[in-house]
């Protein structure tokens, strides 16, 4: 348990540093990927919705430190993504090659949409624009392409899947 937390913390710090230093230079059509979101998707997929949500919260909070938007906005969006990924992937074919990129794509769409909508609700009106929709769409594809590349490292840090403690529906009784 402790070893897993340490491994995930190391991965999180490394990805945030890459996000802040390297990936502003690697934009596609003006859009950078969200490495924290990609890792959150993988964590949720591997070890369940609650841990996915906690990892997403930590990753989002770390990224929020470097943004102008209110602290907690990315944390909220990534918590939702981590939980949703864990809940949905319980019902998926876990060995299929196409699952991680698909989850990266869906995670990007959900995370970006939550970020924009909650942002508008808390006073970031400038997020309500066609450009935001384009950013979310392009970012989701970028995230999907990066998911298979990050998968081995993040999956190693998350440890083996815990099938016994998973249920198809995260809110399930």
């Amino acid at each position: 348990m402790t070893a897993r937390v340490v491994r995930l913390a190391l991965v999180l710090v490394t990805l945030v540093l890459l996000q802040v230093t390297l990936f502003p230079h690697l934009r596609v059509a003006g859009v950078a990927p969200d490495l924290g979101l990609v890792a959150t998707v993988i964590v949720g997929y591997r070890i369940g919705p609650d841990r996915g949500a906690v990892f997403g919260f930590a990753a989002g909070l770390a990224l929020d430190l470097f943004l102008r938007t209110p602290l907690g906005l990315s944390a909220l969006a990534l918590s939702v993504v981590g939980f949703a990924t864990g809940a949905v992937s319980g019902a998926m074919m876990r060995s299929a090659m196409w699952v991680p990129p698909l989850l990266g794509l869906l995670g990007g769409l959900v995370g970006g949409t939550v970020f924009v909508l909650v942002g508008v609700l808390v006073g970031q009106e400038h997020l309500w624009s066609l450009r935001s929709a384009r950013v979310v769409a392009v970012g989701s594809v970028y995230d999907a392409l990066l998911t298979p590349l990050l998968f081995p490292v993040v999956a190693w840090a998350a440890g083996p899947p815990e099938e016994a403690v998973r249920s198809p529906a995260g809110w399930g009784a």
Binding site: T21, A32, R68
Partner: protein
């Protein structure tokens, strides 16, 4: 029973995270840059700054090469145009010097606080861009130790870049005039009619808002900061040129778009004007 407990635990964890996030959002919005959250942000950026600088330095030649390859023909045309303008400007410089002295004297007499050329400046290098996709900011390598304060105007050779948004010890974040949350009080240089140059999401052009629809606006007309009372910028800083005008005089609203004079992606050096609006907190 076990499944029920597991479900309850998951619900609790997620609800706790959501409540914490919303609490943080509220605290950050109420507290601004001051307080614990602002301090944590400052520290995080100071810690990452050296690494960011190393990566930026490594990528700088690559970025410049890509930009040069993409804009080769445009740069050549611009170079020719600049040479012509330079020779013209040299001719005007001699007569301009006397006029500037007169303007400076008149401004002083009129009690205006900003006299171009007399405001102390700090030269800064652009060292990075935001990691986010929903904001238009750049990081510069000067901070509070160099006298930079939040709200100070930032200019480049061509004109206005933006204003200092957040200040750290050795770095600052500059909100570009193209950011959708940026609005600059301006006036049309020829007619003197005031308006607001508003950033537009994802667009390089600005929208000129709150302009009387009966105003005669010409394409290519220069737009400068108005410096009206309470303005965040001193008067007279060139901002943009009118790039398009649509809507008739009878229309309730005239749609005027502005092209900023500063080419943001290729700007590497800027100046921070150590200027604050009269009456602002130092």
């Amino acid at each position: 029973m076990t499944a029920f407990r597991r479900g309850t635990r998951r619900r609790s964890v997620v609800l706790l995270l959501l409540v914490t996030s919303i609490t943080l959002i509220t605290l950050d919005q109420r507290g601004g840059d001051s307080g614990v959250i602002g301090e944590v942000r400052d520290r995080a950026r100071d810690v990452v700054a050296p690494l960011q600088r190393v990566v930026d330095d490594a990528f700088s030649p690559i970025d410049e090469w890509i930009d040069g390859a993409r804009r080769g023909a445009e740069i050549e045309r611009e170079n020719r145009r600049l040479r012509e303008e330079l020779s013209e400007a040299r001719g005007r410089a001699a007569s301009g010097a006397a006029a500037r002295r007169d303007v400076a004297a008149l401004r002083k007499l009129a009690g205006l606080t900003f006299v171009p050329g007399e405001v102390e400046t700090v030269v800064a290098q652009v060292v990075g861009a935001t990691p986010g996709n929903f904001e238009f900011t750049v990081e510069i390598d000067r901070g509070s130790t160099s006298g930079v304060r939040s709200g100070m105007p930032v200019v480049a050779g061509d004109g206005l870049v933006g204003r200092v948004d957040r200040v750290y010890r050795h770095r600052s974040t500059v909100l570009l005039i193209t950011d959708p949350s940026s609005g600059v009080g301006v006036r049309l240089a020829d007619s003197g009619v005031p308006g607001v140059a508003q950033g537009r999401a994802g667009r390089t052009e600005l929208a000129l808002e709150f302009v009387d629809p009966t105003t005669d606006v010409e394409e290519g007309e220069l737009v400068v900061t108005s410096g009206l009372e309470g303005s965040a910028f001193p008067p007279g800083i060139p901002v943009a040129r009118v790039s398009s005008v649509s809507g008739s005089d009878r229309a309730l609203e005239k749609r005027v778009l502005l092209r900023p004079l500063v080419d943001f992606p290729s700007t590497s050096l800027v100046k921070v004007l150590l200027w604050s609006p009269p009456g602002a907190q130092p």
